[in-house]
Symmetry: C2
Subunit: 339 residues, 2 copies
DNA sequence: CTGAAAGCGCTAACAA
DNA sequence: TTGTTAGCGCTTTCAG
């Protein structure tokens, strides 16, 4: 079995107190004692028991990251950055996949099943504002990508309306007039898609165009397959846009894939712009124009929010609304150079 | 502050023992008592303290997943499947990114910093066989993708030599003769790349060809950028293969990207095959031929190994060597149909 | 500088 | 069926 502080103390002929001091390096220990204890530590291969420490400290050093899915490029990248940033703060990340399941999201927010994490970063898909607001929290929560600070939790997100507007405006600037929007999700309570749709429509109106419902193609999920399906639906309905703004890069890549298979020349006959700036987009044929959220900042600001809440008297600060900067990366999919 | 078992007991007028029984549902409790306790539980919004439970149980219910990076499509997908499979076993996954750093891998294996997880699944990059073997483990370990069972830990992997052989043989079957290999990593102790190289060479020799060192293009990492760099190096050196076997799909996609940019027609003039079957490959232009490891099985068998070690008297069973099945998905990048 | 001991919240062996 | 209580391994207050 694993050795405990007590065993080390016995071997070194000191009290557990002293061993603890040596291990943590907190209080000062006489050099001679330190050496003797260290020898015992090494001999027994002592490893502190984290559960006991946690119980004592009232903290676990764990933070939860709840995302719909880990396998999509966007969330994979984001999770990677969060894990990395958490390591720097000596936090460990436990990951939950909600699959956009409202029950799963609810369970995590309520902390049913026990107080395991010191804080939670959640990217809600299924839950709407009132559910996110309504319930009492047991740990600090950071909401990723929701619209406004809901009064009980900090929020970190890009300005989706503005970013979508800019992407659409960029397409308009190259003379496109029939711009499709792939990505509305009227069936979900989550507001991200609604915001991007709003930005898209704003841009059209500002250019003197009327948003055409036939050009707004809803999707059930946000992957390549859904984008492919949406483009197929458009083309099969005889609708032939001259540009596409997709609400995620994955959707854009799926749609572009189908368009090219159907003989549409990209970008000559159809330009594409996406959202998220995933790596695949940069290496696609042609490379995909995309809204670039500063993901590293999303990760770091989220952790900063948690840290502030965890280490400071609760409810001292009102809920924060952190807006993350973004850019538009213009690539060949919306230029005039073919791949 | 959060309420404890003791508070609930006081409110319900019973002992903590009874409350504990109600919470866990383990022992039988008189219906009347149960109702009263449940009411107190609800009123106080009781949430069990996981740290205390863990300390008591001697287990944390956590398993570690140590991978070089979470943001790459392959590891993202794998991590997703492992998290999912772990949830079914009521385990929570904590993720560590090693970045292929030998110290990080060593630290995790040794459990320096404390006994946090009940088991560890690690995909070693930097550490060689002897280091993986040498040290005593404090928790059960599953090695992902190493060559042979090293005597102290279970191993789960596809047959890399065979799979690489099959992919290369497929390229040979369509008449290709100058097949480049992109992906050797002579600087790493990790054996995966070496095994794929071995399979590639085996296939060539069986076809009566001599492996040509000029066609073997090493890489420093396994991403699109490295594949792009490798292809650039080949073309700049005046080497023009008629096919490429890349050791990962990402390398293949990067290489294919550059080839197309340089005006090479794919697959007519240059066929491509990769390894891992990531989603981007399936939606690439043209779709990428790839070795398809059964990732779900990798996840499930890994967890099965851990479960066996954790729940059974240690060292009862000798280290397992689990070989995961794979297939070759032939797509347009190695056919004769252009995108 | 070091030892003794309390107690973090929970479960389960032992009693009643 | 339920109460009492001894720890799980650690940190830290209080003495010395």
């Amino acid at each position: 079995m694993s050795s405990r502080l007590k065993d080390v103390a016995a071997l070194a002929g000191v009290s557990t107190r002293t061993v603890s001091n040596v291990v943590s390096g907190s209080a000062s220990v006489a050099e001679e004692t330190r050496v003797r204890v260290q020898a015992a530590l090494d001999e027994l291969g002592y490893r502190p028991n984290v559960a006991a420490r946690n119980l004592r400290a009232g903290r676990t050093g764990l933070i939860g990251l709840a995302i719909p899915e880990l396998y999509s490029p966007y969330f994979g990248e984001l999770a990677s950055l969060i894990v990395e940033a958490a390591q720097q703060r000596a936090w460990t990340v436990v990951i939950d996949q909600t699959s956009g399941d409202p029950d799963a999201e609810r369970r995590l927010l309520e902390g049913t099943g026990g107080r395991l994490v010191d804080g939670l970063i959640i990217s809600p898909w299924a839950l709407g504002p009132e559910e996110l607001t309504g319930r009492p929290r047991h740990v600090p929560v950071v909401l990723l990508g929701e619209r406004r600070p809901h009064g009980l939790a900090d929020r970190v997100a890009v300005d989706n309306v503005l970013a979508a507007d800019e992407a659409t405006t960029h397409l308009l600037a190259s003379g496109r007039r029939r711009i499709a929007a792939i990505g509305p999700q009227p069936h979900l309570r989550n507001e991200t898609a609604a915001q991007r749709l709003e930005g898209y429509r704003n841009a059209l109106r500002r250019a003197g165009l009327h948003p055409d419902p036939a050009l707004e193609q809803p999707v059930t999920a946000l992957h390549r397959a859904d984008g492919a399906e949406a483009m197929t639906a458009l083309l099969d309905a005889g609708i032939r846009p001259d540009a596409v703004f997709a609400f995620t890069d994955e959707l854009a890549l799926g749609a572009m894939h189908v368009a090219r298979r159907r003989g549409v020349r990209v970008p000559h006959e159809m330009a594409f712009a996406g959202f998220d700036d995933i790596e695949d987009g940069r290496y696609a044929n042609p490379p995909l124009t995309s809204v670039v959220p500063d993901k590293r900042q999303i990760a770091e600001r989220s952790l900063q929010c948690l840290a502030d809440r965890i280490y400071s008297p609760a409810s001292a600060v009102p809920p924060l609304d952190v807006v993350i900067p973004h850019q538009l990366a213009v690539r060949a999919s919306s230029g005039w150079t073919d791949s």
